[in-house]
Amino acid sequence: MASVSVTNARKSYGNFEVLHGVDIDIQDGEFVILVGPSGCGKSTLLRMIAGLEDISAGGISIGSRLVNNVPPKERDIAMVFQSYALYPHLTVEANMGFSLKLAKASKEEITRRVREAAQILGLEHLLQRYPRNLSGGQRQRVAMGRAIVRNPQVFLFDEPLSNLDAQLRVQMRSEIKQLHQRLKTTTIYVTHDQVEAMTMADKIVVMRDGFVEQIGAPLDLYDRPANLFVASFIGSPGMNLIRGEICTTGPLTFIAEGGFELPLPPEATVTHGAKVVYGIRPEHITIGQGSVSTQVVLIEPTGAETQVTTKVGPQQLIVTVRDRVDIHSGDPIAIAPDVSKLHLFDKATGKRLT
């Protein structure tokens, strides 16, 4: 196990820079997830850590060793590819033992370690099969098995679950997390799925367009997103974001672009006339009472909770309620944001204000 640190890492393909100076510190044994929309450079960064892409500028260290010029095989890392990349002409057992064989481990040791890993992953009965005879989920497990067998310093995962169906994805999510709790190997995991990131990570790195937007524990990102991007990216359904400005005189209120008013907490530290974005999560709005009159547009019950889409002027606001409600689309309804859970962002920079 080892810590990993990425210092001002940049990556260019020709004149086209795809990573613009990334800094991440990963503690020994931590489960870190790189998350962001497709094309933001997550895979590139992971592959730079693996040594599959060279580093245009900056540094990457594993443990205390700077690995910029260390070839992949000497970095003592294992990677699980999105496509699994199982060797099709080798059995599951040979796939899993491939690296040990290359490391010239004895036959007995290879067998022992492959069996151990197979047991952890429930693959014992599949050891003699070929990848083509496995289901998607089994292939995924074999790919993980191949990584576990090596007992590396760091595990790297590149969207390992994206080829699985939804149900299996949820199951593998918890299995990977349990595996990490058991092995405690430093893990860097790439996904574009914020739910995966929220549920699995010790620490999330939110990326966009080659920049790191925010790094933090899942709930910290949820509760205090540093900017509009993180606010809208983390959480499902997403945070309601309403553009507008603070009133110019009198007690502080927020005037949305559609002309309606929303309440601010009394202690809000904003200036009159400031152009801001008002952010409130769907579960922090109560319905049935309050100062904002809206109209119900859509009701989406999920069983545990109900998602109500309401409309104020041109703006749609999503509210989630835990209780069963007897309302219908078209009904007028009053709502009240919980101002203690309010997020305010600067409209120009997108940065969090309070």
Partner: protein, 285 residues
């Protein structure tokens, strides 16, 4: 839509024409090889041989001793058959081995001038053999390689390498690079990856390259006519020699021609099973 009667008729006529076109000469060769020498001068000619004989094969295989120009026919034939097999097999192995290594380098290694070099090599496909025959002859004379297996095989290799290289490069390009990256992380070096991953998965491509090269080498006439005049003379050069000043030995020509057809046919049938694709199934989604 149900195909109309006319449409089906056209398809069948097309197939029939193609079959006659490609199989007709082969049938004629084989049928003639069983026709007694005397029947060749009978007119009108018959589609089916009127009498059957194994005499021509007997002469070729040395069961009946026959001589042309004082040399026993079957000894000549046996030597030419061996020569054809040796040069074609050697050329095939060399060509596939070299082009596999080369194609892999062109696919996965970054080196300056990679694209230009590849285009140049493949462009040599457009150069007809007769254009380089004379300078090549001078080179081979100086290297003392005329009428040697090495010389002929090398010429074949140089002739078929570009095609094979081109074919194998597209085969390698189609292999998922993630497999090689996984092997790299597992601790494998370039050559290990090449031999233990890439070549294992490129079987169908290698087979196709081998078949193309073998068939190409087997059918060469002009090159061995010049570079294999005696000791390494192959079947293609020997067979026309059964035409002598006074007598065209159709029986020998067609019997040896039949054998010359059967060998590559067997090679293709044998290799065909390795052409099956689907080897990659299950490795990457």
């Amino acid at each position: 839509m149900k195909p109309t009667y006319l449409y089906r008729l056209m398809i069948w006529v097309g197939i029939a024409v193609l079959l006659i076109w490609s199989l007709g000469p082969i049938y004629w060769t084989i049928a003639s090889s069983f026709t007694p020498t005397d029947d060749f001068s009978v007119r009108p000619i018959h589609f089916f041989p009127q009498h059957l004989t194994f005499d021509h094969y007997a002469r070729l295989l040395g069961i009946n001793i026959a001589r042309i120009g004082g040399v026993e026919v079957f000894k000549q034939f046996r030597a030419a058959l061996v020569n054809s097999v040796v040069t074609s097999v050697a050329a095939t192995f060399l060509c596939v081995a070299i082009s596999a290594l080369g194609a892999y380098a062109f696919t996965r290694l970054e080196f300056p001038g990679r694209k230009v070099l590849f285009v140049l090599v493949v462009a040599t496909l457009a150069i007809p053999a007769y254009a380089v025959l004379i300078p090549l002859y001078q080179i081979m004379i100086n290297l003392h390689l005329v009428d040697t297996y090495v010389g002929v095989a090398l010429i074949y290799v140089s002739a078929f390498l570009p095609l094979s290289l081109w074919l194998l490069r597209s085969v390698f390009e189609a292999l998922p690079i993630a497999l090689e990256e996984a092997a790299q992380l597992d601790g494998a070096g370039r050559l290990y990856i090449f031999f233990n991953i890439v070549l294992q998965l490129a079987g169908p491509g290698l087979t196709a390259a081998a078949i193309l090269t073998f068939l190409g080498a087997w059918g060469q006439y002009l090159v061995p006519l010049i570079f294999s005049p005696q000791a390494t003379k192959p079947l293609t050069v020997l067979i026309p020699e059964f035409v002598t000043k006074n007598f065209v030995d159709y029986g020998l020509i067609t019997a040896s021609g039949s054998i010359a057809i059967i060998i590559p046919a067997l090679v293709v049938i044998f290799l065909n099973r390795y052409l099956v694709s689907g080897l990659l199934a299950g490795s990457v989604k």
